[in-house]
Amino acid sequence: MRKLFIKALVILALVVSFDVVVGLVSRHIIQGLSDKRSQIATIQQALLRKQADVVILGASCAKYHYDSRIIADSLDLSVENTGVGGMNMVYTDLVLQAFLERCTPRIVVVDIYGQLDPGEGRLPRLKPFYGISRPVTAYFDSISSWQQRLKLCSALYRYNGTLDLLLRHCFNAPNDSHGFAEMDAIDRCMDTVEVRRFHADESKLPHLEHVVSLCRDHDIQLVFVLSPRREHDISQEQWIADLCRKRGILLINELHVPDYYTAPGLFHDDSHLSAAGAHLFSQRVAACLSEHLR
């Protein structure tokens, strides 16, 4: 039994050594990632590096709809698009906090549709930034059970699955579009359908409140945008409009603008615009913003 105990200790020591080495190497690699179009680089840049006058926050709609260059040219301000597919209001809140540690943007644009839907989405993708980014660390500490916190002590666990993301990063092109990515088009006009199924996820509401209060405290112009899409959730639209009215937030509602639905080739799929659609959308959003700034 003594021998078994010693062997178990040796195995434990070796595993811990591996854990430390993998942790150090992974941390070094992630912190040093170059600015590419990969998902991990977008998150890393948003949480650790980027500074801008206008920050675009949200999920895939943010990433594919807001051409940073068009908005920058129109406003004559620096613009960074930090949208990452599958993310939600929690990510928006964390990125804003991270930005505020480095700079104070003048405008924060949140692509709000779906940000309060239930589910954690791709939030686990933020795990590699535990211990690197202060907002991410604080977030995981606040929501994790004791088992989860125990697991987060392990670097192997934190960087679980990152090998795949890092390899994909290697094959991605440099990010010369400030976070914006173009999508190809479907060759038809998008029809629309009305639904009513919105229930705001209670766990995400504090993050929404936090974003609103951070912007108020730092005197940042907060703008919510409803992007065009096939499915119009009337209850969600109403809820967001009410919120904006109550809090004095500027709302740009592009959901019902006919231009997007009458011409073919402006959509990539039911909820994402194509490159041409994004061009039109960015121009319209930029026009709204510049009008408001005036």
Binding site: V10, F18, Q147, K151, L156, Y157, N160
Partner: protein, 482 residues
């Protein structure tokens, strides 16, 4: 409290330490094991715990009554055994199939234009019911057959039924193998602890590095089969079979390992099924504890009863046997047809067996490796097709999936595929390598190497691979739903 969670391992440590250190008598060990088993089961669903306790008490009494009447009043003993079997089947039917049966009947009435006023019953299916009812029925049958003597120790019997590593998802233990082990004091043996933990580790590797990595991709494909081409479906089908195997075998390995640490040996469940050369052999290697149970208590009696019908009797018994195995999985027509499909395959294999042997003899193929591997591939293909039926949520879905194959090939669906390539494929290669070597008696020593350094490095690398590359955000085990 899933077996691959931290909570389980803390529970296990809290249970195992007093088990070995404080209790040095078999009875106290059994009492402790029973308490732990009930806590474990109650943790999963405390509402069902009374049912488990009641059926255990009833079958304990039945066992004693059957044994008492075996010589004195054989007819009564037979009646009591029948009562035990019917009750077991009845419990299973009520909790597992009744709602389906009612729904199907309502559908049938509706199709004839008759009003159906039946509401959904929302019967909660007790977790692990298919496993512990089979243990209970097997016990009374064996007592009636007099192959075992009924235990007079109620704690021992209850521990056998509720034994926590196996209650949720098997293996389905036999009383004749398990009860005698509870009749002895279990000591903490280095060999048992070491072997048990190695099996747990291997099971965890199969589960989190293969099954759980494949699952999101195959789910995305099969749940939206209408949007996928033949290429994607043809890749997804064998991957699902591998997922099913590694998910269930992973659990079995962990359950067997945990039991081994406690000094108890439970039934094996898998024996390298992908190395099987025909469907019959495959079923002898896949979910062995269930197939042997059904062979002993369904196939053999039917085969004897229908022996006068010659070969057709054998086919009918085979078909029934496989249909029972299929339907055991749940209340869905897909499981019924899964059973029929495998039953027919098995009948074909049985019918062609003599011809195959003659052919092999004439062409000296018995030890011809390419021929053996072609048979293995054919068997794998047959089971892959069966697994698509098993995976389908309805027969319409299965037909729809097959119909999609006719829509032509195209680019492979690659969303999240890279994690599969990076994590699951090396793990699958290692698994096949290990199984291939074991099949040919050339053990890849790996965690069992003679050199202690090699052994330890293998264990460390396996742990690192699991934590770094495995899918750790716990998915449930497929077989928990059965």
């Amino acid at each position: 409290m899933v077996i691959n969670s931290i909570t389980f391992w803390l529970f296990f440590a809290a249970m195992a330490l007093p088990y070995f250190l404080c209790f040095n008598q078999k009875r106290s060990q059994n009492v402790w094991l029973l308490i732990a088993s009930y806590v474990f089961y109650g943790w999963a669903d405390w509402r069902i715990l009374p049912l488990l306790v009641i059926v255990t008490a009833v079958y304990y009494g039945l066992g004693l009554a059957i044994a008492k009447n075996n010589h004195a009043n054989p007819r009564r003993a037979s009646s009591l055994t029948t009562l035990g079997v019917v009750s077991g089947v009845g419990i299973l039917f009520y909790f597992k199939y009744f709602e389906f049966f009612v729904r199907e009947m309502a559908g049938l009435f509706a199709s004839f234009g008759l009003p159906d006023s039946i509401r959904t019953l929302h019967i909660v299916m007790p977790i692990g019911i298919s496993f512990f009812t089979f243990k209970l029925m097997g016990y009374v049958i064996e007592v009636h057959r007099q192959t075992i003597r009924p235990t007079r120790d109620a704690v021992q019997f209850a521990t056998f039924i509720a034994f926590f590593p196996t209650i949720l998802s098997g293996p389905i233990d036999r009383a004749e193998a398990f009860l005698p082990q509870l009749d002895e004091v279990r000591h903490c043996r280095v060999s048992d602890v070491s072997e048990g933990l190695k099996r747990v580790l291997w099971g965890l590797f199969l589960k989190v590095c293969i099954a759980d990595v494949i699952a999101p991709w195959t789910d995305a494909v099969f749940l939206n089969y209408q949007h996928h081409n033949a290429t994607t479906l043809l890749v997804a089908a064998p991957l699902y079979l591998i997922q099913l195997y590694t998910d269930f075998c992973g659990f079995s390995e962990m359950a067997i390992g945990v039991a081994r640490v406690l000094g108890l040996r439970v039934a094996e469940n898998f024996q390298r099924p992908f190395m099987a050369k025909n469907v019959a052999e495959y079923w002898r290697r896949w979910h062995m504890s269930l197939t042997t149970w059904i062979t002993d208590y369904v196939f053999m009696p039917l085969n004897i009863a229908w022996r006068n019908c010659g070969q057709w009797g054998l086919y009918a018994a085979t078909l029934t046997n496989l249909v029972v195995i299929g339907v055991w999985h749940g209340a869905n027509w897909t499981y019924f047809w899964f059973g029929v499909y495998h039953g027919l395959l098995l009948c074909i294999v049985t019918a062609l067996d003599k011809r195959r042997k003659r052919f092999e003899k004439a062409h000296h193929l018995k030890n011809n490796e390419p021929y053996i591997w072609s048979r293995r591939l054919l068997t794998f293909f047959c089971f892959t097709l069966g697994s698509v039926l098993f995976r389908a949520t309805s027969v319409t879905d299965f037909i729809g999936t097959l119909a999609r194959l006719g829509h032509g090939f195209g680019p492979l669906y690659t969303e999240e595929f890279s994690s599969l390539v990076l994590c699951a494929f090396p793990a699958i290669t290692l698994m096949f390598l290990r199984e291939w070597a074991a099949e040919y008696g050339r053990n890849i020593h790996f965690m069992h190497a003679r050199d202690v350094r090699l052994r330890m490095v293998s264990i460390v690398l396996l742990i690192v691979y699991i934590v770094y590359a495995g899918q750790l955000e716990g998915q449930s085990f497929i077989y928990f739903q059965f």
